[in-house]
Amino acid sequence: MSAGNILLWVIVPYICIATFVLGHIWRYRYDKFGWTTRSSQLYERRLLRIGSPLFHFGILLVILGHVVGILIPESTTKALGVSEHAYHLSAVTLGTVSGVMTVAGMAILIYRRRTTGPVFSATTTNDKIMYVLLALTIGLGLATTVLGNATGAAHDYRVDVAPWFRSVLYFDPHTHLIVAAPIGFEIHAISAWLLFAFWPFSRLVHVFSAPVGYLTRPYIVYRSREAVTPRRGWEGSRLPVEPPG
């Protein structure tokens, strides 16, 4: 196993996972008021109304596809009686639909972001880096799928990429599996790791504060103060005492 492979397929993934996890903890603790997508709906809403749902529902499907395709071993689907043909058919169909939705949505959003003055003015360097990583990852993912299927020699990632990814999660990385995969999958994987590493420092944190609870919550929340027993005049102060210096 070459040092390069260890770097790419062992060190990078773990660093990225660690950054992803610790980064979110750090961000939550130190930048709660910055935990936002900085909505630009105020500046432009016509394109956003189309592009945003297209992209977001598309990307949700993409994520679902990745869960099924990567996290669930082939043996499990087989055991559930899903034939290779049926799996492939649904993967290609759903994959294409979600891929097109995602890419189309993203294209609209990027076009909007670039051409609407106020929106572009509100776009930070951080956002731009995020867009590059996100678009690269999505583009590569779609490209491997579409190119594979179009050339008729679709690669079965469930025999190499997926087991390798799971092996990383088991802390027993089977690097030889990914090394054997086609170059497109490899680049897609690397770009995805980088995206995960950048994630906690970008607006993508909003994924973890998606307002799912709104579906089941009344609109109005009243919060009363917790009952406090007033301090008696003879009692000591309850204020925290800071150490001198």
Binding site: F33, G213, L215, T216, R217, P218, Y219, I220, V221, Y222, R223, S224, R225, E226, A227
Partner: protein, 1233 residues
């Protein structure tokens, strides 16, 4: 809380879709909290930790009451919030006492500017430490070390030409270094000591305007100046805010209604006053009164903010308001006095105006001219002061009557109890007119023709009294206004639509562009409303009509409208002139403090305009004489006189003050007189007669006559009020300037004043400023002392706009090395006194005092006939046609001790305000108990004035408005003179003493007092002259009534005996500027106006980050699309405004709001924000005043005659600037700094 299950199903039916309902119902089981029956709300306990974020943001440790001393007239009480010892923000106080159940309230008051103030406390522009220009400080330290004496050091630096030039020419070029207070105070004190010893105390001047905006800060510096004998410069006339018409008509200066009285008006004209912008906290009264049915008219050349509140907009051309007012007066006179007699109006003008008084007609070169008021002396009366008692005719008998109330009754024992407006059984004859009666054709001047003044001939009815041909002022007024009556000779307009003769609505239309029919209708409505409402028609007039060269004529035409209709002295009626926070309600106490009248009298006070006109050498750039503005009927007594000659005349006749006075140090003149064995008067007049002694103003450029020290505090002279800013920079300061004008050619130079070929530059030895922020003034100063802000000191504030006295209270101690003005001047005084021990000692100072209003001095010039001793070749008589000469002892080593204690003259001589003397014995006792007594020294046992709070208490205790006992006592004194009942007006408060603590706890309403002419009796809204009208107390004028007619010689010379329209000055004719509208290679010529801004108060706030964010920021000039198109400039492009006075670089704001031919550069946009280099000069662009200069009107210099007598900020030449023009051109859009 009950759960959903307990409720009948369907409680939420029809309000929520089934899916949502199902989801929310299910959600109840997965999260804590009670969900309401209708599924709309969930109630939880706790989870509010995030609240602390915003609660902390808005939490504070304490709230302190203070206000802003910024001369905005607001005097709003504010809550200042402090957290962790840091001022965080401010908000409006809401605890104003109610003004009554049937009207809106004063609370809350404030505007965005005041709300932005706390930004300054910790802003980059804050002056944190004493600063001295490095080159000066180094020289001073070196010389002091070497010579061992700061005074000797200062003497050396200022007398060595190279050393002096080294720091003088460095002014305005930066180079400040941080100094210690000790060094700064040492230098300042040494400079004062040296200047007094070498040149005299009258070569030092203090400039600190508008006492009302922070009385103690003003008074402490003025007290220091007064104790050392340095003149304080007037500001009201200098600002051109002083309406000269007010002394002319009322014999009183700016007594006006509070804004709560606008509510009482049922017809309101806002005339040149942009109320929502410049009276922001008070504007609500006008808006609310509209809902009560008040009709509101706006007269404004532009579509100003106030116009949108108005029912009608009269867009009179700039500076032509006088023509509109004369035409309105024409309509009122015709419809309410001639075609129909209106009893309410006739009764009013008979009792309260000079209209029925007799004026003698005189024949000169075959023309009959209006002459002098007929006096009792003229008809053989030999009673005391008979030549000061004016005469009218009894309507019943037609015989001459000398009614009570004229000036002759004001002084002397014979007038005791008779100085009142009680006419007894006499009904004055308003007009001498009778069918087939005798008439004369009088010649009257007209100035409306741009080609030049002309004469009109109109007939008046006459009677003969003691062989003299007389008519009434009313008849003359009808003639001047062109209101015809059958049988009178002369040229008269045929009707309102006859535009050929002055006075008619049709005549004013081409001048003002207001349609004739509209002008007539508004006049009719104004008067009809006054008739049915009992005088509740009001004119709010402001700087838009007041800053013109001929503003006095504009204002007299306005005042004619409110006096003819009986509105003056009525609640809801009369003039409401607001241009500055003029009203020091506790007037007497403040004056005692500021003039140090408790230790020595009188203090030197100087007319600011003439002082700066001479000091900045603007007189060297006046290529015209008084003839340019003279009447075509002038006798020629001002002929050929340049402005500076007129100033010199006024000074030598004792009319106006003149400091520096003589061409030598006034210290020692008294000693010289004594050693010569003559009285001071004798000695000085002998020396003058022999030509050995001259007035300093006759040679202003001689080094011994320069002002040497100028101290500016609470003011931004060079960034805000310095008309002719570039002349200031060149001649007074000695810095870079952009003056482009040429000096007066030899043929047109002054007659009486010495012309020196080389004009001096940098006359001042020391420019000292005290401020809390860096301004144009501090940047040119030699020494800058860091001042406390309005949130860091104890002080008092009051205003015209409301009847309350407000406190300043420190929210924090002065931060860094800043000090209150009180502490700064106390420190200077202490060091000065130490240095004076060796260098000055006790000296005697000859003070030349002008003939003063509200004293018998105003009877110096009978009939206003000028007695110029120099022309006549006679010996001048001090106090008659020469200044009074008073010897004042200057105890220089005890200046600090006297500054900090109330002196014995307070109870020995009392305090006199507007002729009423208050006896202060009880108040002094009270103060001694309240403040404590001084121990030891010259002030042993005297009440303490050692801290700012002491001075607050003293001001309150020594004024009638804040001490009921004094108010009652003052009224009783006035009762003896007038014989009318007055003391009951203050009786309800006789036992009341307002303390400083009272003002800190709540806005405190004042007590009715003879210091003012209105009444707050019984919680009434203040309106000026209510006491005069209701209690028959005379006005302080010649006739004791409101004057339409002014018979002084010089008023005839300028053709303004009666209200008359005078157009703006023609700058093409006077200075050769292009004509307005002319389009040349350089750009388009436009009228250049500098009105007050929405985003600043003077220069304050225009550099404030918050206000900059609300406006475009940086220098801007507003112009009309038409003018912009002519020079191909579009909005926000860079332009340059160039005239002979200077160069301004600004961005254009192109707005349809602006009328063609006029641009606005809002007042006081300083060079501290975004001012690039000018293409025209290569130097930095100027401020708004770089395009202006001083022009002095001769008639403003009249003195020694009844109401036309000097008093500080009562009368003086105005520093007007509205008549100016400029060329505007588009410049390269690439700007460099």
């Amino acid at each position: 809380m009950t759960s959903v299950e307990d409720q009948p199903s369907g409680a939420t039916e029809g309000r929520m879709d089934p899916l949502t309902e199902t989801l929310v119902r299910a959600g109840r089981y997965f999260r804590p909290g009670d969900v309401s029956q209708d599924l709309r709300t969930i109630t939880r306990v706790g989870g509010r930790e995030a609240d602390s974020f915003y609660r902390d943001r808005w939490s504070h440790d304490k709230v302190v009451r203070s206000t802003h001393g910024v001369n905005c007239t607001g005097s709003c009480s504010w809550k200042v919030y402090v957290k962790d010892g840091i001022i965080t923000w401010e908000s409006q106080q809401t605890d104003y006492p109610s003004v009554g159940p049937d009207r809106p309230e004063y609370e809350p008051r404030g505007c965005p500017r005041g709300a932005a103030f706390s930004w300054y406390t910790y802003s980059p522009t804050r002056v944190r430490y004493p600063y001295i220009r490095g080159v000066l400080l180094e020289m001073f330290r070196e010389a002091r070390h070497r010579l061992g004496d700061p005074v000797a050091a200062w003497a050396e630096i200022t007398s060595d030409p190279d050393k002096r030039a080294a720091y003088v020419t460095a002014r305005g070029t930066g180079g400040f270094v941080r100094a210690t207070w000790e060094d700064a105070v040492d230098l300042v004190a040494a400079a004062h000591v040296h200047t007094i010893a070498s040149y005299g105390p009258d070569r030092i001047a203090g400039f600190s305007p508008i006492p009302a905006m922070s009385m103690v800060s003003h008074a402490v510096g003025a007290r220091f100046m007064s104790l050392i004998g340095a003149p304080m410069l007037s500001f009201y006339d200098w600002y051109a805010d002083l309406p000269v018409a007010s002394p002319q008509v009322f014999g009183d200066q700016t007594d006006v209604p509070e804004s709560g009285d606008w509510w009482d008006a049922s017809y309101l004209i806002m005339w040149g006053s942009n109320v929502p912008v410049t009276r922001t906290p008070d504007a609500h009264w006008m808006v609310e009164a509209r809902y009560r049915g008040q009709k509101v008219i706006a007269v404004s050349p532009d579509y100003a903010d106030n116009v949108k509140f108005a029912d009608e907009w009269l867009a009179a051309q700039p500076g032509t308001d006088g023509a509109l007012a004369v035409a309105m007066g024409h309509v009122i006179l015709k419809e309410f006095f001639v075609d129909r007699q209106t009893p309410a109006f006739e009764d009013y003008v008979r009792s309260y105006t000079d209209l029925p008084f007799l004026v003698e007609l005189v024949e000169r070169d075959g023309q009959w001219l209006p002459g002098k008021f007929l006096t009792a002396a003229d008809i053989g009366d030999s009673s005391q002061h008979a030549e000061w008692k004016t005469v009218l005719l009894d309507a019943a008998t037609g015989s001459a009557v000398v009614p009570n109330g004229s000036l002759g009754f004001r002084y002397g024992e014979e007038g005791e109890g008779r100085w009142n407006l009680d006419l007894g059984d006499t009904v004055p004859l308003l007009s001498a007119y009778q069918e087939g009666g005798d008439t004369r054709t009088v010649a009257l001047p007209r100035f409306d023709d741009p080609a030049g003044p002309a004469v009109m001939e109109r007939g008046v009815p006459v009677r003969t009294v003691e062989g003299r041909t007389v008519t009434t002022v009313f008849d003359l007024l009808l003639a001047a206004y062109g209101v015809a009556r059958p049988g009178l000779p002369g040229q008269w307009p045929s009707g309102y639509d006859d535009g050929s003769e002055p006075g008619t609505p049709a005549w004013q239309e081409p001048i003002t562009s207001v349609p004739a029919a509209t002008a007539a209708r508004i006049a009719r409505e104004f008067a009809a409303n006054a008739e049915v409402s009992g005088g509740r028609s009001m004119i709010i007039m402001g700087a838009g009509t007041n800053h013109w060269f001929h503003s006095d004529t504009i204002y007299r035409a306005f005042l004619a409208l409110v006096t003819l209709t009986g509105c003056q002295g009525r609640n809801g009626g009369g003039w409401a002139h607001y241009v500055g926070q003029e009203k020091v309600r506790p007037l007497t106490g403040h004056a005692q403090m500021a003039t140090a009248a408790d230790w020595q009298r009188p203090a030197r006070t100087m007319i600011g305009t003439a002082f700066f006109y001479l000091a900045t050498d603007q007189w060297r750039y006046d290529p015209f004489t008084a003839d340019a503005t003279a009447s075509p009927l002038a006798s020629g007594s001002l002929q050929g006189k340049s402005t500076v000659d007129v100033i010199a005349t006024s000074a030598r006749l004792g009319w106006m003050p003149s400091y520096p006075t003589f061409d030598r140090n006034p210290l020692g003149l008294a000693d010289r007189a004594e050693s010569s064995g003559r009285s001071v008067e004798q000695f000085v007049t002998d020396e003058i007669g022999a030509g050995r002694l001259k007035f300093a103003c006759e040679d202003p450029d001689a080094p011994e006559n320069w002002p040497r020290i100028l101290t500016v505090w609470r003011a931004n002279l060079l960034g805000s009020s310095a008309k002719g800013n570039e002349y200031f920079l060149r001649h007074l300061i000695g810095a870079d300037s952009s003056v482009r004008a040429a000096e007066t050619p030899e043929a047109d130079r002054p007659e009486d004043v010495t012309w020196r070929d080389q004009a001096p530059t940098g006359k001042l030895d020391l420019l000292l400023s005290l401020d809390f922020r860096m301004t144009s003034t501090t940047l040119f100063s030699d020494v800058v002392l860091p001042a406390a802000t309005w949130y860091e000191k104890h002080d008092l504030s009051s205003t015209d706009m409301h009847p309350f006295v407000h406190a300043f209270t420190p929210a924090i101690s002065p931060p860094w090395q800043t000090r209150t003005d009180f502490d700064a001047f106390s420190a200077v005084a202490a060091r000065f006194s130490q240095l004076a021990e060796d260098h000055l000692g006790v000296r005697r100072d000859v003070v030349a005092v002008p003939l003063t209003h509200d004293t018998p001095d105003e009877m110096a010039t009978p009939h206003g006939v000028v007695d110029d001793w120099r022309v006549e070749g006679t010996t001048p008589v001090p106090g008659r046609n020469f200044p009074k000469l008073v010897v004042v002892e200057r105890d220089y080593p005890n200046v600090a001790a006297k500054l900090a204690a109330l002196g014995p003259l307070a109870e020995r001589l009392g305090a006199t305000t507007k002729g009423v003397t208050f006896e202060l014995g009880a108040a002094v006792q009270y103060l001694a108990a309240k403040n404590g007594r001084t121990v030891g020294g010259v002030a042993d046992g005297r009440p303490l004035l050692a801290r700012d709070q002491h001075m607050c208490e003293a001001i309150l205790a020594l004024s009638g408005t804040t001490n009921g006992q004094l108010a009652v006592q003052g009224f009783k004194a006035l009762e003896r003179r007038t014989g009318v009942r007055l003391a009951d007006l203050a009786a309800e408060h006789e036992g009341k003493q307002i303390t400083f603590a009272d003002t800190q706890s709540r806005p405190t309403p004042v007590i009715t007092s003879p210091e003012w002419s209105g009444s707050e009796h019984g919680g009434r809204r203040y309106s000026a002259f209510v006491i005069n009208v209701e209690r028959l107390k005379p006005w302080h004028t010649l006739t004791g009534r409101q004057h339409f007619y002014l018979d002084h010689d010089w008023m005839a010379e300028v053709g303004e005996q009666l209200p008359v329209f005078r157009p703006p000055l023609d700058m093409h004719q006077l200075f050769g500027e292009p004509r307005i509208g002319a389009m040349g290679e350089l750009g388009v010529t436009v009228r250049y106006l500098t009105p007050h801004s929405k985003w600043s108060i003077h220069s304050e706030y225009q550099d404030n980050l918050l206000m900059l964010s609300l406006s475009r920021g940086g220098p801007t000039i507003w112009m009309s699309p038409a003018d912009a198109e002519r020079i191909s400039v579009s909005d926000n492009e860079w332009i340059e405004a160039v005239n002979r006075n200077g160069v301004i670089v600004a961005r254009a704001i192109v707005s349809h709001r602006m009328p063609e031919g006029t641009v606005y550069m809002y007042h006081a946009q300083e060079r501290v924000v975004d001012v690039p280099l000018a293409e025209t000069t290569g130097k930095r662009g100027g401020i708004h005043n770089s395009g202006t200069r001083l022009l002095i009107k001769p008639s403003h210099l009249i003195g020694g005659y009844a109401q036309l007598s000097y008093a500080f900020n009562y009368l003086g030449p105005t520093g007007n600037q509205r008549d100016e023009v400029t060329v505007i051109r588009r410049r390269g859009q690439e700007v460099t700094y």
